[in-house]
């Protein structure tokens, strides 16, 4: 692991009119690092994640990705930076009018990062990686939630991102398929992918995270390695949250 910061967030603040949803957010993510965001609902975890690739409109502060500040960057620049940040959503958001294969190859072909043949070859490789090779020509609606989410991961990986952002990837899934998605993510983590994950799966967070950020009321209330957060922290809010969810 190098010590190079791939993402640096400085004094990020976001408000909707008078309602401040994020404040004083600063942290760094190193290459290959796994950062997990935990905390109560409404604490700002998803909003923070969505600020990282500028899905959330205006905010103040800086999000520096590979040396470039996203805040204030041109539309074209933001688009290029987004190509390097894969995102996986709670609701999968696969394109229902495209097959699994087309879902995965659409962006690489459209953005000319691969030829049609290269994109397909890559897609089959990714489908194998997520265990869904036989579903290449299926439409998303015929797949289970767990399968859809694995396709969504493959779709994000198809752009060869530097970072993967996961926004509660298992929250909309039936309990029996959560494991399938988590094991794909664990494999990805083991392969050295830089990952930022919002999740309520505490044991997953404990296993995978290099750094855990505990978010509450729009602020990073506590942070550290999993051992510190889950076992040693004396922070009242962290302790009270963990006692409720574990």
């Amino acid at each position: 692991m190098t010590s190079e910061n791939i993402i640096e967030v400085k004094n990020l603040k976001k408000a909707y009119a008078d309602n401040v949803v994020l404040e004083d957010i600063s942290f760094t993510v190193k290459k290959s690092e796994k950062v997990v965001l935990i905390g109560p609902s409404g604490g700002g975890k998803s909003t923070l994640l969505r600020c990282l690739n500028k899905l959330e409109g205006d905010y103040s502060g800086n999000v520096i990705f590979e040396g470039e500040d996203l805040n204030g960057a041109s539309t074209d620049k933001i688009r290029t930076l987004r190509q390097k940040m894969g995102m996986v959503f709670q609701q999968f958001n696969l394109f229902p009018n495209k097959t699994v294969l087309e879902n995965i190859t659409f962006a690489p072909i459209k953005l000319k990062v691969a030829t049609s043949d290269e994109a397909k070859e890559h897609a089959y490789m990714l489908l194998e990686q997520v265990g869904l090779s036989e579903k290449a020509n299926a439409y998303p609606q015929s797949l289970s939630g767990g399968q859809q989410q694995r396709v969504a991961i493959a779709r994000a990986l198809a752009m060869n991102p530097e970072v993967m952002l996961f926004d509660e990837p298992t929250s909309a899934l039936d309990p029996e398929v959560v494991g399938d998605v988590l094991s794909v993510m664990e494999k990805l983590a083991a392969d050295g992918m830089t990952m930022i994950i919002v999740t309520h799966e505490m044991s997953f967070a404990q296993n995978v995270a290099d750094k855990v950020l505990f978010m509450d009321k729009g602020k990073i209330a506590d942070s550290g390695n999993p051992k510190y957060i889950f076992e040693e922290s004396e922070n009242m809010r962290t302790k009270s949250f963990l006692s409720k969810v574990m």
Partner: protein
Amino acid sequence: MFDFLKQYYPVFLEGTAQTILISIIGIIIGILLGLVFVMLRLSKIKVLSYIARVYIAIVRGTPAMIQVMLIYYTLSNVLAVPQIQFLGSGLDRVIPGSIALGINSGAYTAEIFRSGIISISKGQTEAGISLGLSERTTMFSIVLPQAIRNILPALGNEFISLVKESSVLFYIGVQEVTAEALGVGGTLYNFVPPLIVAAAIYFVLTFVLSQLMQIVEKRMGRKYTQSN
């Protein structure tokens, strides 16, 4: 009662062809204008959105007949269309007439497109742009195809209305079905039978159109659920 058809059927055929022609042109212009105005309407730039709102409000709030006449008399002053006869009518009437139908239909089509676009979850747009696609590509390749599938029934209704409303072009002298029926009625001193024929023709045209729309709907619906 319908003996006159033996003598006058070519007139009705010509009128039918004219109705089909002006309807097709009207529908095409309507779709194009609908697309343009829905993009303006949904634009983040307030002025553009406002222009689209004004267009839609004016078209919806005034009679089609007056719109057709206004456009015809205005266009014929500025646009020198040659008075070539085609299917029994001068192109100087057919062209402004079909443009007027399209302008009228465009307002309704824009609203139908808008209802379709807002029915597609925001997650689809977010998924597209998170991959690095532009908002335009996301709109045209991902959101719009899904929206169109959802609005096919409403679009079908609009096309059918347009076929029927094309009879207003009678007022500017386009010899479409209604005009032909009234002409035949005049020579027969009896308007009822030719008008029944005209009604039957409209019915057949709109029936065929609705069947076509159903076929398209089925085709697009089947695709989504295919499992391999």
